[in-house]
């Protein structure tokens, strides 16, 4: 295969995954949340159990007027949704789907790249918050900045633990080195990573930057139409990304029966299972208070991640 065709196939595959998987997760959220609340959820769009609800939502968003507030810093205001969405697309590039190089772009420093790019998200939050010229947006954005910067630390520490255990920063390399007993050994790191990841994508119960009952809609208050849809899409791609990273780092990615042929399926199954848990947590738990959020981060997650790091280092040195 010529290199340019190879490149096109990989990019198209990633973009397709980027556009399809969030819709699947979004639809699953509609339905799972509804049934967990004793409802049916969307039933009309697409005639069969509302399967086209998100497509209809997308069409609606496209039709809406793109409003920018008069006081807004227009250029930054318009750029922010793209900045929110784009890092996730880049992260998807580095996530291995199956063994034998089934990855869009296998990087030797994949983990480092992924964590670095995920950190760009805070920039989008601050950009949208500041450029909206709205006090609720600003409050939400500052909350978001505090939250994202705080939770970056346990996220990175937990990921460092598994990288140390595997002895590599390459994501396919980590999956390759993964053994089932790591589930036990790396369990604290997995929990810390998952919780910090939830906070990173600002999902309930960590949605204080959005907090619609206090801050209208946080940094998204002033957004309409397609730009608002981009923010929503970013949230659902975020679910996919955090679920995929948890899968790759802690749940053994493609490991499972017939991994050589069905590795990609195992990865997807695990990603959707973790996504289900993310939805489940959203339905079950109320939003934390802002001080509880910071307490959880600095007094629970960071010490736990550090302890895990010490444990991992000890095991690596001794064995």
């Amino acid at each position: 295969m010529p290199i340019w065709l190879d490149l096109i196939v990989r990019v198209v595959a990633v973009v397709a995954a980027f556009l399809v998987l969030p819709l699947v997760v979004g639809q699953a959220e509609h339905k799972v949340m509804a049934h967990m609340q004793g409802r049916l959820g969307p039933m009309y769009a697409g005639a069969f159990h509302g399967w086209a609800q998100l497509v209809a939502d997308g069409v609606k968003f496209v039709q809406k007027e793109d409003v920018a507030p008069g006081e807004a810093d227009r250029r930054v205001f318009r750029l922010a949704p793209i900045v929110a969405l784009f890092p996730y697309l880049l992260v998807l590039l580095a996530i291995p789907l199956g063994p034998n190089g089934l990855v869009a772009q296998g990087l030797d420093v994949g983990l480092f790249f992924v964590l670095a790019v995920l950190g760009v998200g805070v920039l989008a939050v601050l950009m949208s918050a500041w450029a909206s010229a709205n006090k609720y947006s600003l409050l939400g954005g500052l909350r978001g900045a505090a939250q994202l910067l705080g939770y970056e630390l346990p996220l990175v520490l937990a990921a460092a633990s598994v990288a140390m255990a595997a002895g590599t920063l390459s994501l396919p390399g980590i999956v390759e080195a993964w053994r089932p007993w790591w589930l036990l050994w790396q369990a604290p790191a997995a929990i810390v990573f998952f919780v910090a990841g939830l906070a990173e994508i600002r999902r309930p119960p960590f949605d204080m930057p959005i907090a619609d009952s206090e801050l209208v809609f946080g940094y998204m208050t002033e957004y309409t139409g397609l730009r608002f849809a981009f923010f929503l899409l970013a949230e659902y791609v975020g679910i996919i990304v955090i679920a995929a990273l948890t899968t790759v780092l802690f749940l053994g990615g493609w490991h499972g029966p017939f991994a050589d042929q069905l590795g990609w399926l195992w990865t997807l199954v695990k990603i959707f299972a973790v996504s289900f848990v993310i939805i489940w947590l959203r339905v079950s738990f109320p939003r934390l208070r802002e001080d509880q959020l910071q307490r959880l981060c600095w007094l629970v997650l960071v010490p736990l991640a550090l302890a895990q790091l010490v444990l991992t280092a000890a095991v690596r040195v001794l064995t």
């Binding site: 509804a34 049934h35 967990m36 609340q37 409802r39 049916l40 079950s284 307490r295 959880l296 007094l299």
Partner: protein
């Protein structure tokens, strides 16, 4: 995070919360697919009021008892010549019978007071209008609703017999026979209530007389007594 001193195990509440949502997900939903599936309304649902015009004698009781005066009645008198009778009789003819459902509060008093069962509850509720004036249902529209009146519920076997049944039984037995209260439900009566029948028998005519006052120009059945 901090003040959970008296809580037994940390995280127990979190797990319980997860269990509740998971259990709810596996159970049947309570959603009613209303426009697609008709709701199952309880018996005696109060949807709209139907008018059986033939039963109406224009006694105006409903219009007068209506708390918000939403029943409008017009009528005129008609001469009815009965062959063989000494003089012609007069009859009330209903010209207009409107109920304004934008005012109606569905108390059901008009239906309760109607002496001749001309008004009925029906469970139909889909008569919303875009113009409030269209909520004034005319005689014909109220008559249309009669199609939707459900059959009356079966009589309670342990309850008192209906007045019509009791009267019919008394008439069939002829004058001087036992009254309805003595005969109608010997099985259901309590042994201690041996004396009350006399009282009940005394009440019966009084109640009938009270009814008679309420229905001017009616009461052939009662008058025979």
């Amino acid at each position: 995070m901090s003040d959970d001193g008296e809580r037994s195990t940390p995280g127990k509440g979190l797990v319980q919360g997860l269990a509740v949502t998971l259990k709810t997900m596996t159970q049947r939903t309570t959603t009613q697919q209303y426009p697609d599936v008709e709701p199952e309304l309880p018996p005696r649902s109060r949807g709209v009021i139907a008018l059986l015009e033939e039963n109406c004698t224009v006694c105006m009781l409903c219009a007068r008892e209506c708390p918000d005066w939403c029943i409008y009645i017009d009528s005129h008198k008609e001469e009815v010549v009965v062959p063989g009778a000494a003089r012609s009789r007069q009859r009330n003819v209903l010209d207009r019978f409107d109920i304004d459902f934008s005012l109606c509060m569905y108390c059901g008093i008009c239906i309760e007071v109607c002496p001749f069962d001309a008004l009925h509850w029906t469970p139909e509720f889909e008569y919303a209008e875009t113009d409030v004036l269209d909520l004034l249902h005319s005689k014909d529209r109220l008559g249309d609703w009669m199609r939707t009146v459900p059959p009356p519920p079966a009589h309670d076997v342990l309850g008192e017999p209906s007045k019509e049944e009791a009267t019919a039984a008394r008439k069939a037995a002829g004058p001087g026979a036992a009254t309805a209260a003595k005969t109608a439900r010997p099985a259901a009566r309590r042994p201690a209530a041996a004396a009350p029948p006399a009282k009940a028998a005394g009440e019966e005519p009084a109640k009938a007389a009270g009814d008679e006052q309420a229905k001017p120009g009616s009461g052939e059945a009662e008058r025979e007594r």
